[in-house]
Symmetry: C2
Amino acid sequence: MTTSTARVPQEERTRAMRQRLMEATVELLVERGFSGTSTTLVSQRAGVSRGAQLHHFPTKDALVVAAVAHLTEIRGSELEAAVTRLPEGPGRTEAVVQMLGDHFASPVFTAALELWVAARTDPALLEAVAPLEQRVGRETHRLTVDLLGIDEARPGARELVQATLDLVRGLGLANTLGDDARRRRRILTQWARTLEASLQGPEVASLGRGRPRTSTTAEKESP
Amino acid sequence: MTTSTARVPQEERTRAMRQRLMEATVELLVERGFSGTSTTLVSQRAGVSRGAQLHHFPTKDALVVAAVAHLTEIRGSELEAAVTRLPEGPGRTEAVVQMLGDHFASPVFTAALELWVAARTDPALLEAVAPLEQRVGRETHRLTVDLLGIDEARPGARELVQATLDLVRGLGLANTLGDDARRRRRILTQWARTLEASLQGPEVASLGRGRPRTSTTAEKESP
């Protein structure tokens, strides 16, 4: 009994310590960027000894990758929780699209951006980041498909989901140079309308109604 | 006469030297990132003495901002030149959108990305980068409107142009972690179809035809 009750608080303390280290890392990535983030600064901010920090995360890369993965998971869960507050019916597409826009304008996106850009010129870091990036990409895609109730078997539907996610990624990048919330919301309001209209038509690719469709490019993927 | 003919080659040599410095800077930003780029490395690669380099660009920030501005202008001119090769008629929207996609996947985008991300946590650099970024943004927007022959007075049209540019920015960012050309082209093919259909309808915001429009959000900006 004594061993067991002693172990639980110890595990709890370890978990809390790892969490403080990861949160401090994300804060520093946002405030000072990848090159301005050091393990010494992280230990200081988290109130964790250098020894303990090195025990849990032996290198800066290990710490940064774990921190961004951890926070991305938390934000993913928050995103899924927010789903329950989304309206059904007419306003849903816009609510989903704006939620994704806010998600990609959050500090976690900024921290991940620092990591991606650093990984671009650092092969060891890239090896650790690429699988995380792929997994997060797949999960966000899946979540978006579910939230919007999209049938990906329809030609063009999958590409429109991908475009939505690349659009919010681009808006997230623009937002890092200055608060861009008003512009973002206006753009996403229009995109939600366009997306909804595109996905509601009899077929996704066949949207032209102002004039007859003559483009061969536009017919390549039609059923 | 002698003075005048001597001055022209001197000006020519100065111009060529500045150009070599700026090109070496962009190459190093792409290969090593902002933090891995030093004025010493730039001088070496450009084959320019440290003294001459410091005379033209006294700081790393001055050099990097000038280099990205210069290359962005060159790429802007290239983009405008490419316009003459664009088809008229049905395939034009896709050709424009794919051209923008390629533009944002180029090394100049990567160099600019390094600069933006560094500027995010460096107020002095941000002060130099922000006006450049705004000017480039305005010019690219204007060019896209012209190329697609868009009437921005139509509600929603301006937002769809902005969305197109934020989409290619997001795709450009995705491309920095690995060649993403196939996925990009597929997404942009669908985007071009959707954009064309949206801009050809009687009004941009009124796209729903699968069911009656009941969303109040979707009607906020309607005329």
